[in-house]
């Protein structure tokens, strides 16, 4: 039986007169890799910010794991098992790469030794082991993206929200991140994936929602989305077609 782990129901977010998200609804199944795409300014990051407690929604509800979470704080939502990465990476600059990932691990353990071991595992998984003792702020952007990923993985989330985790990476790096994401899903984590790279999105996602100017434009499998005329007109028409 398919279990919905996340329901977005009629969610809107206004910034003054600016409607960033407008009456968006969709549901995400357990262990799904769910794509969230749309042109710049479509409202993708804003939706993540609402889902993770950084912005209060203007209206609508967000249900995660059968709990209404739209009035909870970000840290509470994280501890329920929904964890996000940042499009504009947020390394804890003066801490080491290892310590950054340990802080992710501390949400499931209180013991420093254990956090250390878990963090080393995740650094190994994303290929950052060699940088463990470097200050996180000194990494180049591509590696900072990997650090974002390792840090959230260390908290063993039920659900991962990835905001352009492949942005600024080259093909090999993107492929290695996609491989990690597949492995994480196979271990039981549900993933919502914001990405501009259509090849990456269509190759990895089970289903996709397209946002445009804050509104839901389409929802479906990668094939349905890439052949949807409205999507092509609004989004893929601009030379993005894979």
């Amino acid at each position: 039986m398919i279990q919905h782990i996340l329901h977005i129901t009629h969610v809107s977010k206004h910034f003054g007169g600016n409607v960033a998200v407008s009456d968006v609804s969709f549901s995400v199944d357990e262990k799904e890799i769910f794509g969230l795409i749309g042109p710049n300014g479509a409202g993708k990051t804003t939706l993540f910010n609402c889902m993770t407690g950084f912005f209060p929604v203007t209206s609508g509800d967000i249900i995660f794991d059968s709990k209404k979470i739209n009035t909870l704080r970000p840290d509470q939502i994280c501890r329920l098992g929904m964890v996000r990465t940042w499009q504009r990476v947020k390394p804890l600059g003066s801490l080491t790469v290892l310590e950054n990932v340990m802080i992710g691990a501390f949400s499931i353990t209180n013991a420093t030794g254990e956090a250390n071991i878990m963090a080393m595992e995740q650094l190994h998984a994303v290929g950052l082991s060699d940088y463990a003792t470097k200050p996180a702020g000194s990494l180049p952007i591509g590696l900072k993206k990997k650090l974002e990923l390792a840090r959230v993985l260390a908290s063993r989330p039920k659900m991962l929200l990835l905001d352009e985790i492949c942005g600024g990476l080259n093909h090999t790096e993107t492929d290695s991140i996609l491989a990690i994401i597949r492995a994480v899903r196979n271990s039981g984590t549900t993933i919502v994936f914001i990405e501009h790279d259509m090849k990456a999105v269509t190759s990895i996602c089970d289903r996709i929602v397209v946002l445009n100017s804050g509104e839901k434009l389409a929802e479906g499998t990668p094939e349905e989305i890439t052949t949807n005329p409205a999507v092509i007109a609004a989004y893929l028409g601009g030379g993005h077609h894979a």
Binding site: D75, W86, K90, P91
Partner: protein
């Protein structure tokens, strides 16, 4: 482990120092002040260095300890140690009140609020009767377990114990979940929150630890001096000295506060007793009766906060990680 051992060795050496010095009240007094400033700045560092929350009002917690001890002892016959505990209680209440209100807000509100709270405490103490008002509180001799607290050595050891506790706590925090969480908050609050860190709760925790230790130092100081008024224990100047000592030594480090106190307390003492002015005059650089000579004689004694300020500016410009940062450059 290495850090624990270093602190232990430091403690041992410091404990032996009075035996070396012998009966020298002036020098012992200076050392007590150094230990006190080191404790205060270390305690401040738990909040300022780890969590990045700069308190400009730590005198409030120092004063809470000092006043609670003095008020209780001047009225009742109680064990002085109990008054230290009561002081911690009062300091923690002030801290909780400040923290619960301010830590919900983003931005630099805490720095501003800490000044405001400290001023409210100072003005209240100044205007209440039971606090001695502007007169302050004077205490007759006290004894503890038969030890006459007129001699200085008990206070030297008392201050040393508080400093060692603070250093051990700092070393422990550096390797603990709480310490890492505080540092995450200092680096990026959004990232910290997204990783499951209850920001207000952890800031409050750091503030409470910091306030409690600061209050103990205040209680000890009151017992040592046996006369307090608001300008001695609740002044903004004290809050500033605590910060500057931490910044000059190296914020966020284990030994920064100790180093800062070792440098700044003797420097302040030299300025206060006009050693520098006297030297310039005696060395023949400045004639005693010249305008400059008279000016220095008048004003240099009050100049130590100004000198701290200048050193701080130089530190921020050239040594952003404090003097300790000098030794870590190559890392």
């Amino acid at each position: 482990m290495k850090e624990i051992a270093t602190i232990a060795i430091f403690g041992l050496l410091a404990a032996l120092l009075p035996l070396l010095i012998g009966e020298n009240p002036y020098l012992t007094g200076l050392l007590i002040t150094i230990l006190m400033m080191a404790s205060l700045s270390s305690a401040w560092n738990i909040l300022g260095g780890f969590a990045g929350q700069y308190s400009f009002g730590h005198a409030a917690y120092f004063g809470a300890g000092a006043y609670t001890t003095m008020i209780l002892l001047s009225r009742f016959t109680v064990n002085p140690l109990l008054t230290v505990l009561a002081g911690i209680g009062v300091a923690c209440m002030i801290a909780l009140l400040t923290g619960t209100i301010v830590f919900r807000l983003r931005g630099h509100y805490f720095a501003l609020a800490s000044i405001a709270v400290a001023e409210i405490v100072r003005l209240s103490v100044l205007n209440f009767e039971f606090t001695g008002g502007a007169q302050g509180i004077l205490l007759a001799d006290v004894t503890l377990w038969g030890v006459d607290l007129n001699s200085k050595n008990p206070f030297y050891y008392g201050m040393l114990v508080v400093l060692l506790c603070t250093l051990f706590l700092t070393a422990y925090l550096k390797r603990s979940k709480t310490g890492y969480y505080l540092q995450a908050i200092r680096e990026d609050q959004d990232a910290a929150a997204s990783l499951g860190i209850d920001i207000a709760r952890y800031k409050n925790r750091a503030l409470l630890m910091s306030a409690a230790l600061t209050s103990v130092t205040g209680s000890l100081y009151a017992l040592y001096i046996r006369f307090i008024d608001t300008s001695a224990v609740l002044d903004l100047r004290l809050s500033i000295e605590i910060i500057l000592t931490a910044i000059i030594g190296g914020v966020g480090t284990l030994w920064g506060a100790v180093l800062g106190a070792l440098l700044l307390v003797p420097l302040a003492e030299m300025l206060r007793s006009n050693v520098l002015g006297d030297l310039l005059v005696k060395g023949g650089f400045i004639p005693e009766t010249s305008t400059l000579g008279l000016f220095l004689k008048e004003n240099l004694a009050h100049a130590h906060v100004l000198v701290y300020g200048i050193i701080t500016v130089l530190c921020i410009l050239y040594l952003p990680k404090g003097i300790l940062g000098l030794f870590r450059r190559r890392k």
